[in-house]
Symmetry: C2
Subunit: 689 residues, 2 copies
């Protein structure tokens, strides 16, 4: 080890990083097992990450300098092709993990494949009959042979409001065909991932028209391109949506259908059946046809974990070696030792652990509901309502969780970037690209604001059910539980029961208040829709608080279930930090509901400060536990060894090798300007008369 | 006018936009005069905007598809060159406006020129003697002939903490020269705008070393490149910082100095003088040497206005023609008619008006202080302390305002993007690029977090001065004023005195509380630095609330001073909305300080709702008043005529003309993959023994 004296700003960081790592009070590997859901999963992830790292197609050091859209798309497709090679050799779970990891290297490639595999695949599996699913699998859907699927939902003029879509699918009984048509330019299918370059087929959301009657939006499979030549099929017009804010690897396009004919059998008929005579049968499950979107939401909570952990690892490692100012005179202080820097980043780290616990919970629920739906006999009068209830609950929980976690992740990327100062703005540290790639998660597959409003409506509905004496279960069960103490009243914050109780009480109070207001409005004669509209701000708030409660609870419960003698303490520290900080963040609500006093709020802030100091000691352990290899970080300042300046200097100079001091446009632009002649100041003289 | 029946999703928008515009209750032009500070300024802006729009160098419809860094830089330089042609023909104010408008077209080009004109220029003017300033102007600094300046402040290992910079400037008395040197790699000058491609000279922040004694950081002019050949000067090493998150038009580079010799006269000596014998004279004004940074901060508040108004115009116009869902059944509702959508965007619009009032206020103060400093006799024992006090106050006010407004603008761009749903993610609507270009404003020239902490410290210091019976003035004068009512207690919210009083009371309470805590810590024996460190969260909060108060106050006062019979009403509506909404945003503090009760908070929220409904009616008028021509918006969905879908469809298709359905990598990548052979499943047989 180098002696302290020989260290300077440039050489000190790796030495300090090793020292910080050595002082960790726990074994980070055990926290990794906790986060991953067991050692087995960690080992699987390790293996898959190594496979990616060694594969030349995934070499990513040059990724930040790829700016050309076509080049991004080509690289993304190569990566997708490589991934698909494993579809038949991996077991299902391994393949799922492999897909998720692709998102950690190239979000554009991941989205492009997820649209085929998850969304198109989910549509034919979820909305198609088993026979229809088999048919498209045989056509090459799963193995991606002579076939690439896409999903044509949104239109230029309609996004979130699916029931307003304008594309039509009119049954022609004589031909036993549907005619798919785009009635006006605003009905052009827009943002269709895969359409611009790749897709041979697409699942189209269109209005089912039979005998002049509009049966609402159903799903139809339409072939876009000739499989052999990749030429467009008759009646299909496709254009390129072009440059986006991020995810250039996904080839989004627009599609117009001009009287395109498809066999009647191309309508996906699990939940709605049309026979050759034009009889339309819709069992009560029709609303489940949108189920294809659920997988995406659930996956985005998981993605929020993966992406948040990455940028927290970078910013916290950097904070641990970067020094600035001298808080007490003498040697400059590490950023991480500033109380304010701790407060900016460490709660976000705790939140990231909380996100994982919640993402796992929602995924388990999703797997359960999906299995139930796939195995459901749609004529079973008893099973169907139960399935609908469970699916609805999942819709509502996943809506709040998707919105909360994707926003949290966007905020985390942004905060971490700012915490790295100017170096956060370098492309080579990864923040810029990640933010631009990430934020569409807050909009697609359910705009976050709309999801929160809709989840808020569901919370009020559940509460009205409680008031009507109906049983409710799942994450809203506390609404029916006997109310606990309406005040914190000096109870022990460090008792998870107290903390969870606090959140339940405040969330319940808020939902009760909103339900009361709803009932007043209803009595005034407003329609249900109008009353909910009036209460949008309140609904939004209900979702925000309820979801935060859900996350606090899941974190504590997961520790109770899976924590060990080695991990319980460091994890509980984080859970407490997360729960206390969340109260501080929502102090306005806690004060308003009279749950805490200003004095107690001050006490909570002081306890947060104590937790921060404790957590700070192990900050390298906690971030190492995220288990993100340098290759996946792909960030010059985030390296595990802490040799930040050396690595960053090297990366910048490798990507920008020494060049002529005269840039390419020197002779043509710079020199002529710097050496321009003085303006001609002679003017024609006129004799004034 | 088209009949209602012939309108569909595609054709309705322009008709609706015209209808909305017609219903405006005021003359938007009069609000423009208010915002611009008078008709004269508006006419000047109109003229300059037209000149930009007509000049081919500024044609911007292709800007979003430029991805190549070198191409961005070349275009940026062409634009700068064009701007500079006006430097001698424009009067100073016109040129300033012209510069600001460049930032509305190309933030990268603007930054690159601002570094030369504002920062380098500001350094030689502010830190150089009048003779030194004249010398560099004669060399071509102002006209940019055979000369391009830059500013070498930050190093790889040091940013915000200027006193920790490691580059040295050692006086060699024998040669009457300074030797500029980079002692280790972490001391490499980093992020130097203009260094990579353009700069011939630079102002270097380096430690003045005379006879082995370190006199701290001063400014030295160093030549980087030979003027004739653009080759690097001896001892100068320059590299390219490469790709950034945004602002690719600025050519940031790194610089290492290896024993580079400069004449002693190249030290900028207004505030610190070194003679040929090595005598160092530092009048009390030494701290003013950082004054060059002030102009940047003040300009960024103005920039925040320019940029916020642009994206609010886009998002609010879009919200006025976009329909989704049917709140009351029947025709779909416009986004702007959803209470939640109003709440998301309209307060940000009001805030943007408030930002302008505050930016003007701070700029006036800046002009005053700058003039005072430039005309100051540094030996005047009476004038100097007064000047220092005024400059300090400006430092602190501008710190809070810079942080608050640049964050507000980043948030506004982001919220506006999300409010446009998926179309917000298209490059052609401008949000992505603007966000990436913008956010560095929150970091450079004083990291926002550090600025807030430092402004918070100044607030506590002012308050301690008040307690010590010293007079204070300016924006903190209310700290010394007699306390008003400690509670809202049912007074009239619509009386600006009440609203301003509310903010003053809460801000004063917060600063008092923090000052109390400071004194407790000091009594416990903590050093001043340690005590402030402990109180960082509180300091941050003090700045946040004090700055918000300042903005609320400036808005009301400007209306009182400059509002007319035609504009007072619509402006007051916005000011009320901004003030009330700000209380709601900071409800936690207002409740904690006991200024309002939960019941009053509910009332305030209800009043916000009322204001929103009023403001909504005139939303097109309020955004038209921002007076941003379509050319400057450069956003397919933001057009004034509201013909959103047609325009957007056209722009996307112009930028991405119809192409072969087979993308360039079809034959090489896609086809071989889709048509790959099944894996060879035959395996060599081994006879098991």
């Amino acid at each position: 080890m180098l002696s302290q004296q020989s260290l300077n700003t440039f050489t000190e960081p790796p030495v300090e990083m090793a020292r910080e790592r050595n002082q960790t009070s726990f074994n980070p590997r055990l926290l990794t097992y906790f986060l991953d859901g067991g050692e087995k999963n960690t080992l699987l992830m390790d293996r898959l990450m190594q496979e990616y790292e060694r594969d030349p197609v995934f070499r990513n050091e040059g990724d930040y300098d790829i700016t050309d859209v076509a080049q991004s798309r080509e690289l993304a497709f190569k990566r997708i092709a490589k991934l698909i090679e494993y579809v038949h050799t991996d077991d299902e779970e391994t393949y799922l993990y492999r897909c998720m990891l692709l998102g950690q290297i190239d979000m554009g490639a991941f989205a492009r494949y997820a649209i085929h595999h998850g969304v198109w695949g989910g549509a034919i599996r979820g909305a198609g009959t088993p026979e229809q699913y088999e048919f498209w699998v045989k056509k090459g859907s799963l193995s991606v042979k002579k076939f690439y699927g896409s999903f044509s939902m949104t239109e230029l003029g309609h996004g979130s409001n699916l029931v307003g879509l304008e594309t039509t699918a009119t049954l022609d009984k004589n031909a036993d065909e549907f005619v798919i048509n785009t009635p006006n330019v605003a009905a052009t299918k827009w943002w269709i991932g895969g359409a611009a370059d790749t897709a041979t087929h697409t699942a189209v959301f269109a209005r089912l028209i039979v005998d002049g009657e509009d049966h609402g939006v159903k799903t139809f499979v339409v072939q876009l391109r000739d499989v052999e030549t990749h030429n467009l099929m008759p009646g299909i017009a496709i254009g390129d949506c072009g440059k986006k804010m991020g995810r250039q690897g996904t080839d989004n396009g627009w599609i117009q259908f001009t009287h395109v004919r498809i066999p009647r059998q191309n309508m996906l008929m699990r939940y709605c059946h049309v026979d050759s005579d034009g009889n339309v049968t819709e069992p009560m499950m029709a609303q489940m046809a949108y189920g294809a979107l659920l997988a995406g939401r659930v996956g985005m909570a998981m993605d929020s974990y993966f992406t948040s952990r990455k940028f927290l690892t970078i910013a916290l490692r950097y904070a641990t070696i970067r020094r600035a100012f001298a808080a007490g005179g003498g040697q400059e202080t590490k950023l991480i030792d500033y109380p304010y820097h701790q407060r900016r980043l460490l709660p976000l780290m705790a939140q990231t652990y909380a996100i994982k616990c919640t993402a796992d919970k929602v995924r388990d629920q999703f797997v359960k509901v999906t299995d139930m739906l796939l195995n459901l006999d749609v004529s079973d009068q008893e099973a169907v309502p139960k399935a609908i209830a469970e699916a609805k609950e999942l819709f509502s929980v996943s809506a709040g969780v998707k919105a909360t976690t994707t926003w949290a992740c966007a905020h985390t990327i942004d905060q971490c970037r700012q915490a790295c100062g100017g170096h956060g703005y370098s492309a080579y540290n990864g923040f810029g690209r990640a933010y631009s790639d990430w934020v569409i998660q807050c909009t697609w597959e359910g705009d976050n604001n709309i999801l929160c409003l809709s989840a808020g409506r569901a919370l009020v509905q559940s509460n009205r059910a409680v008031r009507a004496g109906k049983p409710i279960g799942g994450p809203t069960a506390y609404l029916a539980a006997p109310a606990g103490s309406p005040k914190l009243a000096g109870r022990n914050l460090y008792d998870p029961k107290v903390m969870i109780g606090a959140w339940e009480t405040v969330s319940r109070a808020l939902i009760n208040r909103t339900t009361d207001e709803f009932e007043v409005l209803a009595k005034k004669g407003l329609s249900t829709a109008q009353a909910y509209e009036e209460l949008s701000q309140q609904r939004f708030l209900c979702t925000r608080i309820h979801t935060r409660l859900y996350m606090v609870k899941n974190f504590y419960e997961r520790i109770a279930e899976e924590g060990t003698e080695f991990t319980k303490e460091p994890l509980t520290r984080l859970a407490n930090l997360y729960a206390f900080w969340s109260v501080e963040e929502e102090a306005g609500i806690f004060l308003r509901e009279g749950y805490i006093t200003p004095q107690e709020l001050k006490y909570i802030s002081a306890e947060i400060r104590k937790q921060l100091l404790e957590v700070r000691k192990d900050v390298i352990g906690y971030t190492d536990a995220f288990n993100v290899p340098d290759f996946f970080l792909n960030s010059a300042i985030g390296r595990a060894d802490g040799d930040v300046y050396k690595n960053y200097f090297k990366v910048v100079n490798t990507q920008n090798p020494p060049q002529d001091p005269r840039p390419p446009y020197y002779e043509s632009v710079i020199r002529p300007f710097l050496f321009r002649k003085d303006e001609d100041e002679e003017i024609c003289s006129l004799e004034d008369e």
